[in-house]
């Protein structure tokens, strides 16, 4: 087993405690539960609108960021505050490879929860709307969103104990209020980037008004969103590696 793989395995195990798995697991499948209740009595058109709302404004806009921010902020933050950073860092490993292993751990651990939520919601949506294209689109968009938020909140979790609070302020003030109101800021919003990927991949039955509100001035498409998140991930590794190299490890 290589050192990087060992870091990923240990980190994923440490950040996914049983309590967190159960709590976040329930949170992740909550939109699917709400949609199932709604779909029982709704018309086909209402189902489409309801699924779009559940998948975009609840799941991708709130649940994926909350879970990912909490998990990814703790992959390095918990090592620092749990005094295990010296154990990890005083090893013959490049700081950038440690940062890379930690980022992949954050994405894998977060997606282990958000991916389940996406799969369940996509499955019930696919059943209700008779198209399982929603399932694959939601899984892909969730992965993109999870990777994007992980790239931002892993280094932030290392820098400050308040990263989760900052994350929630970011979601509710910046993403949902400011970037939502000013369409020119869509390119800076991880939610809009994620939503554009979802809109680009999902079948055409999504409610167009909800989609327009969520993607702002961005064009639907997964390719651009994926590239942006890959660039963000690379910058995150470089920044975190630099932090680990230059700052005190306490």
């Amino acid at each position: 087993m290589t050192a990087a793989f060992a870091i990923m395995r240990v980190t994923a195990k440490n950040v996914l405690g049983m309590k967190r798995l159960i709590g976040f697991g329930i949170l992740a499948v909550f939109p699917a539960g709400v949609f199932m209740l709604l779909a029982r009595t709704a018309t086909e058109i209402d189902r489409a609108e309801g699924f779009t709302t559940m998948s975009m404004t609840m799941f991708l806009a709130v649940i994926v960021p909350i879970i990912t921010i909490v998990v990814s902020a703790s992959v390095l933050g918990a090592e620092r505050r749990g005094n295990t950073l010296s154990f990890l860092m005083l090893r013959p490993l490049s700081r950038f490879s440690i940062a890379g292993a930690k980022l992949i751990s954050a994405i894998v651990a977060s997606f282990a929860i958000t991916g389940v939520g996406a799969a369940v919601l996509g499955f019930v949506g696919g059943l209700a709307l008779h198209d399982f294209g929603y399932l694959t689109a939601l899984l892909a968009a969730t992965l993109i969103g999870t990777a994007g938020y992980s790239a931002v909140y892993m280094p932030l979790g290392y820098l400050t104990e308040r990263s989760t609070l900052i994350g929630f302020v970011y979601i509710f003030i910046w993403e949902l209020a400011i970037a939502g109101a000013i369409s020119g800021l869509s390119g800076t919003s991880l939610l809009r980037i994620t939503s554009s990927a979802y809109a680009g991949l999902a079948p055409s039955g999504l409610d167009i008004d909800v989609v327009d509100a969520m993607i702002g001035s961005l064009a639907p498409g997964a390719g651009g969103a994926a590239i942006k998140v890959i660039v963000l991930g690379a910058l995150s590794i470089l920044f975190t590696g630099w932090l680990l190299r230059t700052r005190d490890l306490t």
Binding site: R91, P92, L249
Partner: protein
């Protein structure tokens, strides 16, 4: 009552360039060199311009709480970046060249364990991170070294403090480092475990490893270390062999306890000796302050013989590390 002597500040004037042979702050064959290192935390100066080097063998790093020894050890290990000056370990800068950690092991003072892991998993993880392809074998060897094999498959969260300490030592030893940095390594260990760990550290030192032990338990450092570095208020207060440090404190009289029967005539005669600064009597025990220990050693039996006094004990009180440390820290 004589006033306490002023605090002894024996910070060697080291200059910028290490001079290994003459200065006691420098080891003869250094593996770790700290050159004028300082560390500031905001307005607080934790370590101030310390120049020191360490070589094979055990060096004790001593100081009261807040003296800066943990900060210095963290700078030596690369955990902290010096605010000023530089640290090299085996000729390399630990912050720029992580490859040096193939040869460095650290036992930090803080907990630094993953409570959900077993002892074996913890040490195996350390071995894997250090590049071992067969970490299980290396982990078993290290666990055996600290006598933790029988409890190795229990969760670290259920370990006693002493067992956690031994697990940390095993994780630091697993890759057989040339340099071992130990911050209060015996904390929480019982006397048997302590003796076992001290023997392990000694074996490493005897086989040419550099072992630096930061501790406030002076008796244990005295049992382990051939050389001590004492820090007070973030500065180097003294360095070298403990007896040499004591001898260098010529401005502080030695204290010697002499058991004599009868004691009073001997005390009266000793007061006339040039080497004696003061004598107090407590029953049959004389407490003597002297500026010349060898001269006192000659005078006591001679006078005792002349006076017909039976001397049953003669022991210098303050050649111990504890007394030297007390002089350095509180000046008495």
């Amino acid at each position: 009552m004589t006033p306490p002597p002023p605090r002894v500040d024996r910070t060697p004037d080291l200059g910028a360039i290490p001079a290994p042979a003459a200065n006691p702050a420098y080891a003869a064959n250094p593996t770790i060199v700290a050159d004028s290192v300082s560390k500031f935390f905001g307005q607080k100066v934790a370590v101030s311009s310390v120049s020191v080097s360490f070589g094979p063998g055990i060096t004790g790093l001593l100081g009261p709480n807040g003296a800066g020894k943990t900060t210095l050890l963290r700078m030596l290990s690369g955990m902290l970046v010096p605010s000023e000056g530089s640290v090299t370990v085996l000729g390399r800068h630990p912050r720029r060249d992580p490859a040096v950690y193939r040869d460095v092991g650290l036992v930090p003072e803080e907990s630094s364990i993953y409570p959900s892991m077993t002892g074996r998993e913890y040490v195996e993880y350390a071995a894997t991170l250090s590049g071992f392809t067969k970490p299980r074998l290396a982990a078993s060897r290290a666990l055996h070294e600290v006598a933790l094999e029988s409890d190795a498959d229990r969760s670290l969260g259920g370990y006693s403090k002493g067992m956690r300490q031994r697990a940390k030592v095993a994780a630091a030893l697993v890759h057989e480092p040339t340099v071992l940095l130990l911050d209060e390594p015996l904390n929480g260990t019982d006397p048997v475990q302590r003796a076992h760990l001290i023997a392990a550290f000694r074996r490493l030192a005897d086989s040419g490893h550099t072992v630096i032990v930061s501790s406030h338990v002076l008796q244990e450092v005295e049992r382990m270390a051939s050389r001590v570095i004492a820090m007070v208020d973030g500065r180097l207060a003294a360095a070298g062999d403990i007896h040499a440090i004591r001898r260098a404190m010529s401005d502080i009289p030695y204290r010697v306890t002499v058991a004599a029967q009868p004691a009073r005539p001997l005390a009266r005669e000793l007061m006339g000796e040039e080497s004696v600064d003061g004598v107090t009597i407590d029953g049959t025990t004389l407490s003597i302050e002297t500026n010349d220990l060898p001269a006192l050693g000659t005078a006591v039996p001679l006078l005792a013989h002349q006076l017909g006094v039976r001397v049953t004990g003669f022991s210098p009180d303050d050649e111990s590390l504890e007394s030297v440390f007390r002089y350095l820290v509180v000046g008495r």
